[in-house]
């Protein structure tokens, strides 16, 4: 018979402020009171024979709650779940491990928890011991184990399961590098045998390598359902966009011109970029760039300076320099400062430029603005801070001599 899971309008609502025991008496389906946390909201889903479903999403998106309901660990507040097939779930490794018993005895305990008879456990125990690879430690109490050894034992206990429907909640990597490879291989093997596999993971790599269908959840809803490649990409993009929006919000608070003391003011901050030297706020990487600052400060303040600071959106300080004011005093007594970059080496991102006038350590006036840098051929795989311009030329015979 084909395995199949059908979810119809499944919701789970957690009452805020805890339970009072009313579950024991009330037979009516509960409805969401105001302020109750809706963990899963009317999810309908059909999982067919042969599907390996990965569920991704942020913390608190309702992934685990959904998984727990499918595994039968909790029941939905409303809606129905229909399951054809025997469900095996791996939520946490090493649940029933007793510290005072030896590894071998713990394997029996684990089997007992799963309702196996002793002779059934004896059939697989050698396989488990062999997989855990603990040597003589298998007959020592678990409290003498290192964390990694415990994890290995715990993983080995699930390594021989032969599931129809397998549900795994983030239990994919354990132990040292060697064991981790072995464990991942075994998980793949188990998944390949399972008729239906459902995995919750934050590792996009494991989702992509194990699953053939992917679900993205957000606030209890299914946002996207499709191939692992498409869904993980959309998810990662969205996470990045949301992060940036949040940072932008924080960044914006700084923007503006402030003058804290009379006689001090940043009059103008301008960025010129490109061959033609236009004033821009969207800058092209690799182009000559010039920064112009105009300000007024009281004459005669000897200890004052102009601080120029460039911060990237993710709070990375790129440039911070303080120039003594008096060196830049123009004939009309105002301050004019120019910073030149032959080529703009900043990587593509959003930056904040802060210019502040300081007398000693006190900030007397400041001005902040945002600019963005784009590159025509940005490097992939991360965010570089600097795009360092390199120049290539033929190796001269001199330097070849030196190398020798």
């Amino acid at each position: 018979m084909d395995s199949r899971i059908t979810l119809h309008e499944v919701s789970k609502i957690f009452p805020v402020g805890g339970m009072s025991g009313q579950e024991l008496f009330s037979t009516a389906a509960q409805t969401a009171a105001t302020g109750d946390k809706i963990a899963v909201a009317r999810v309908s889903l059909t999982i067919q024979h042969g599907e390996r479903l990965g569920i991704i999403g942020r913390n608190g998106a309702g992934k685990s709650t959904l998984l727990h309901m499918i595994a039968g660990l909790s029941s939905p507040t409303s809606g129905s779940i229909e399951i054809n097939g025997k469900v095996t779930s791996v939520m946490t490794l090493g649940v029933g491990v007793r510290e005072d018993l030896s590894g071998r005895e713990n394997i029996y305990v684990d089997g007992e928890i799963q309702g196996r008879a002793r002779h059934e456990i004896e059939q697989v125990i050698d396989q488990i011991i062999d997989f855990a690879d603990l040597g003589e430690f298998i007959d020592y109490p678990v409290r003498t184990y290192s964390t990694g050894m415990k994890a290995r034992l715990a993983f080995a206990m699930i390594s021989h399961i032969d599931p129809e429907i397998l549900i795994i909640d983030e239990a994919l990597s354990v132990g040292d590098a060697n064991f981790s490879i072995k464990a991942t291989a075994r998980i793949m093997e188990i998944c390949a045998r399972g008729k239906i596999v459902i995995i919750v993971s934050h590792g996009m790599g494991s989702i992509k390598s194990i699953c053939n269908r992917c679900l993205w959840m957000e606030n209890g809803h299914v946002v996207m359902d499709g191939s692992p490649e498409a869904v993980t990409k959309a998810y990662i993009d969205s996470v990045r966009a949301a992060d940036e929006a949040q940072l932008m919000e924080k960044f914006r608070k700084f923007i503006g011109v402030r003058s804290m003391q009379d006689g001090w003011a940043v009059k103008q901050v301008a960025i010129f970029n490109g061959e033609s030297g236009e004033q821009r706020s969207l800058l092209e990487a690799g182009q000559p760039t010039r920064l112009e600052v105009r300000a007024v400060t009281p004459v005669g303040e000897t200890d004052s300076g102009v601080r120029v600071r460039i911060t990237r959106l993710d709070d990375l300080l790129v440039f911070d320099e303080c120039f003594p004011v008096e060196a830049f005093r123009l004939c009309d007594q105002s301050i004019g400062l120019e910073i030149e970059m032959a080529t703009l080496v900043l990587g593509s991102a959003i930056y904040r430029l802060d210019v502040s006038l300081e007398a000693g350590v006190t900030v007397c006036a400041e001005s902040s603005c945002i600019f963005e840098v784009f590159a025509h051929n940005p490097p992939t795989g991360g965010k570089p801070m600097l795009l360092y311009p390199v120049s290539a030329s033929a190796i001269s015979t001199d330097s070849l001599e030196k190398v020798r």
Partner: protein
């Protein structure tokens, strides 16, 4: 029966074994304590009431008579007390496996209740030795004993289903319960004969399942008379009702254990 199959009964047995083992885990004598503990306590009672205080039942010639009478009621009570407490905390105590494994959680209070069997067994053995020494050997009516034991545990299980489920949501229960049980013990004629209780308690005792059970033990073991059919039938119906509604309530509530544990 009641939606439980053979696999579940095996799991219940496994859980029972684990309960007993876990209680004495790490001690060098291990599960031996499960037998030694009640035995030492009964021996202490025998010494104190038989040789130190020398309490006598009215009309009895030896002090051993009181000790036998006491243990025949108090022994089953200790087992009941132990079983009810174990059953009540069984679900909260197994939160680890409840959150990780789908199984019939109603097996937890049921299997926990049976841990009381061990101390009951010790009490009955101890009692049989004392009875043999005293010479008042029970007659054929002792065949009623298994029925009384079965009824007693059916009653405990039915209470356990309720108490363990309530304890998940109202943890205060397991803290208050030992005191409540002590009160019940003193209200029930277990330490003193029913004739020395206040008249009101005497009347109420005939509806007190704890008294009916204690009295049934004493009747069969000491007085050579079968348990009262009315009393046993009453306890059975009471337990059946509590069990029926308890199981339904438990099954309704168990979907929420996950979020309350």
């Amino acid at each position: 029966m009641f939606g439980l199959n053979k696999q579940d009964i095996r799991l219940a047995f496994n859980l029972f074994k684990m309960n007993v083992r876990d209680r004495f885990l790490g001690s060098s004598l291990g599960s031996f304590w499960a037998i030694a503990n009640p035995f030492f306590m009964l021996a202490l009672y025998t010494f104190v009431f038989g040789f130190v205080f020398k309490v006598r039942l009215p009309g009895a010639e030896t002090t051993l008579g009181y000790v036998i009478w006491l243990i025949s009621g108090y022994g089953p009570w200790i087992a009941m007390n132990e079983a009810i407490l174990a059953s009540t905390t069984s679900v909260v105590g197994a939160s680890g496996i409840i959150k990780n494994m789908a199984f019939k959680t109603e097996l937890l209070p049921i299997s926990a209740a049976f841990t009381g069997m061990i101390s009951l067994g010790v009490s009955l053995c101890f009692l049989l030795i004392l009875i043999t020494i005293e010479g008042n050997i029970p007659d054929w009516r002792i065949i009623w004993l298994p029925l009384i034991v079965a009824l007693q545990f059916f009653f405990i299980v039915s209470l356990g289903l309720w108490l363990s489920a309530i304890n998940v949501f109202v943890r205060d229960l397991s803290i208050a319960l030992p005191n409540i049980l002590t009160i019940i013990m003193f209200v029930t004629p277990i330490f003193y004969p029913i004739t020395s209780m206040p008249p009101l308690v005497q009347k109420l005792s005939f509806a007190n399942p704890f008294y009916i059970i204690a009295d049934a033990y004493r009747g069969v073991l000491l007085d050579h008379k079968p348990p009262s059919i009315v009393g046993m039938g009453y306890v059975f119906l009471l337990a059946l009702t509590i069990f029926f509604f308890g199981l339904a309530a438990f099954r309704r509530a168990k979907g929420f254990f996950d979020s309350a544990l």
